[in-house]
């Protein structure tokens, strides 16, 4: 393995990992705030990609598409939270897991019906010509994805640390009851955590569409995102990013060392091992329950 190949793989791994990181972040946010794990997050990403497709076909300039997707994503999240999650947020965990799964399948089914299964493509904002620097080739779309992910990470961390709503969200994730007693409107926090989560998910869809095309199967990304969230710990924002990027790197390197047959198995075997031995991941808080 030459140094060049090693670095080239690292770039590929980080680029694909950036998408997984965004998906992982989108999963961690509502889980941190309201304890709901959105198994339908993959389909939010798919929706983002299809929205990007529609908007691009309307010949709108890229910045407009970007902002629209974020807004649409946020609005969609608020709608989902209000209509589908609010009635069942107090339900047993089983109901929440299955319901979010079902919502995801519902979205996927609707997309399949509306758009069919044929793959579509859209172009990245900076073309497909690789940028050559220091003897390495960089895909401009991949660079753009990494830049966006880095920006989102910084913004989210700043949000949690410096804004009132961010601190309210942290408070609610520790104890919703205590937060209510302190005058925090918990429903508002839930609503905005979902809005952020779906906006980020939709953004991931927009970003990943030039790389893998637009088709209903994009939702499979969620499995990698979930693994990233497990690695990072479900309650940690930097953990989600680190976890997602790690999954990207693991996937890319294992493709070289293990061959395609087992390459797909590696993430899931890793998932099982982590769940058994360290479910709180690298940065998450270990769950301690009082009996």
């Amino acid at each position: 393995m030459t140094a060049t190949l090693f670095l080239q793989l690292a770039i590929a791994g980080v680029s694909v990992g950036a998408i997984y990181a965004l998906v992982a972040l989108a999963i961690v946010l509502p889980f941190k705030a309201s304890g709901v794990l959105n198994f339908g997050q993959g389909e939010i990403v798919t929706l983002g990609a299809y929205a990007a497709l529609i908007l691009t076909q309307l010949a709108l300039p890229y910045p407009v598409v970007l902002v629209s997707i974020l807004l649409l994503g946020a609005v969609g999240g608020i709608a989902i939270e209000r209509v589908l999650i609010r009635p069942i947020v107090k339900a047993p965990e089983f109901t929440l897991v299955i319901a979010t799964f079902a919502i995801g399948l519902l979205i996927k089914g609707a997309i399949s019906i509306r758009f069919g299964d044929s793959p579509n493509t859209i172009d990245g904002p900076f073309g497909a010509e690789p940028i050559v620097a220091a003897g390495l080739r960089f895909n401009p779309t991949a660079l753009w994805i990494c830049a966006c992910t880095a920006l989102v990470t910084v913004l989210v961390i700043a949000f949690f640390r410096y804004t009132r709503l961010g601190k309210a969200m942290r408070a609610v994730s520790v104890s919703a009851e205590a937060a209510t007693l302190m005058g925090i409107r918990v429903e508002r926090v839930y609503r905005w955590s979902w809005a952020m989560s779906t906006a980020i998910g939709a953004l991931a869809g927009l970003l990943v569409a030039p790389l893998i095309g637009v088709n209903p199967e994009i939702g499979q990304l969620i499995l990698r995102g979930l693994l990233g969230a497990v690695i990072g710990g479900f309650t940690s924002v930097p953990g989600a990013i680190v976890g997602g990027v790690s999954v990207g790197l693991i996937e890319t390197y294992s493709g070289v060392f293990v061959g395609t047959t087992f390459k797909n198995l590696v993430p899931f075997v890793l998932l099982m091992v982590l769940l058994v031995f360290r479910p709180q991941g690298l940065f998450g808080a270990a769950e301690i329950k009082r009996v």
Partner: protein
């Protein structure tokens, strides 16, 4: 209690006899559909034992069906084992893998358990697809027609075999739930800590539940392979698992009658929905969501509410819907 269960047994036998008689007069396609419905019942009964009674969420039930289907078919194709031996062996294979998954999974709760079962499902799918020289990969596997001592089994005989298997599955499940094992399942679901304090090995009970539900699914898978004549790996993905979860949510979690009702009612649905086939997935998930929000304890509760007026305080059904 004895009177109620005797009455139920008589009703069940009557239904079975009626079905057998009716099927003798029906043409091939309705018989085929009835067979599939009963196979769904077997799978649903198994899943309900795991999720409704022992309280463990599982997204990989369809994988155990796949293991039973591929296991029994490969035994027949590669080693000439006749179907009536291959299917039980396939179920044993599924049960072993159920125990293998259950060993670590039974220590997990909630979303972590859901994730673990999801991971297992993906692993099984990938193995099926990648080892195509054994499993036929994404193109599927043709299942040889069932024979007994070299004589081809007729369609009607196949239906009867499925009917008997279904009856056995329901009967064993009911007996199981009424026994100490059933009470252990309920205890582990309702309060693992209290159960442990009373000397019930929570880990072993949960593992047993996994293996048991996998066995039921394995039988269902093996039967499905023989009835359909072809194994398509697409049938064993997340959608299939979710469909089985829909059966038990709609029917009623924790009750065998619920599994039967849910599976029977929803198996009829694809036929009713023939004119709008593309929407069938959508309709399934909408039904699931509707029940989760509005009637989480399933249709069985409607039945109990209706019959409460006619019976004198039968014991309440096993508490449902509170899988922790």
């Amino acid at each position: 209690m004895a009177a109620a269960s005797r009455r139920n047994a008589i009703v069940a036998v009557a239904v079975a006899v009626l079905l057998a008689a009716a099927a003798a007069t029906m043409s091939g396609y309705p018989v085929y559909l009835l067979s599939l419905a009963m196979i769904n019942v077997i799978a649903a009964v198994g899943l309900n034992l795991l999720t409704g009674n022992s309280g463990q969420i599982s997204l990989c039930h369809s994988s155990f069906m796949a293991l039973g289907a591929y296991g029994s078919t490969l035994l027949t194709v590669r080693f000439g084992v006749p179907f009536w031996a291959a299917i039980p062996l396939g179920a044993v294979f599924a049960a072993l893998l159920g125990a293998l998954l259950g060993a670590p999974a039974s220590r997990l709760r909630g979303i972590y358990l859901a994730l673990a079962t999801l991971g297992f499902l993906q692993i099984v799918q990938i193995v099926i697809e990648e080892f195509a020289n054994v499993t036929g990969g994404v193109r599927g596997l043709t299942v040889p027609k069932p024979t007994i001592a070299g004589v081809r089994v007729s369609e009607y005989a196949r239906f009867l075999i499925v009917l008997v298997a279904c009856a056995l599955a329901v009967w064993t499940a009911r007996n199981l739930l009424a026994s100490r094992v059933g009470r252990e399942f309920d205890a582990v679901r309702l309060s693992p800590h209290a159960a442990q304090a009373l000397g019930v090995s929570v880990h072993r009970v949960r593992l047993a539940a996994f293996a048991l539900s996998a066995a039921y699914a394995g039988v269902a898978g093996g039967l499905q392979a023989v009835v359909v004549g072809f194994i398509d790996p697409v049938e064993f993905g997340v959608s299939a698992s979710l469909r089985q979860i829909t059966f038990i949510v709609v029917g009623g979690m924790g009750s065998v009658a619920g599994s039967v009702i849910g599976a029977a009612v929803l198996s009829a649905l694809p036929e009713v929905l023939r004119p709008v086939k593309e929407y069938s997935d959508l309709i399934y998930t909408s039904i699931l969501l509707g029940f989760l929000i509005f009637l989480p304890n399933g249709l069985v509760t409607l039945w109990h509410r209706a019959t409460k007026r006619f019976t004198r305080g039968d014991p309440a059904p096993a508490p449902q819907g509170s899988a922790p």
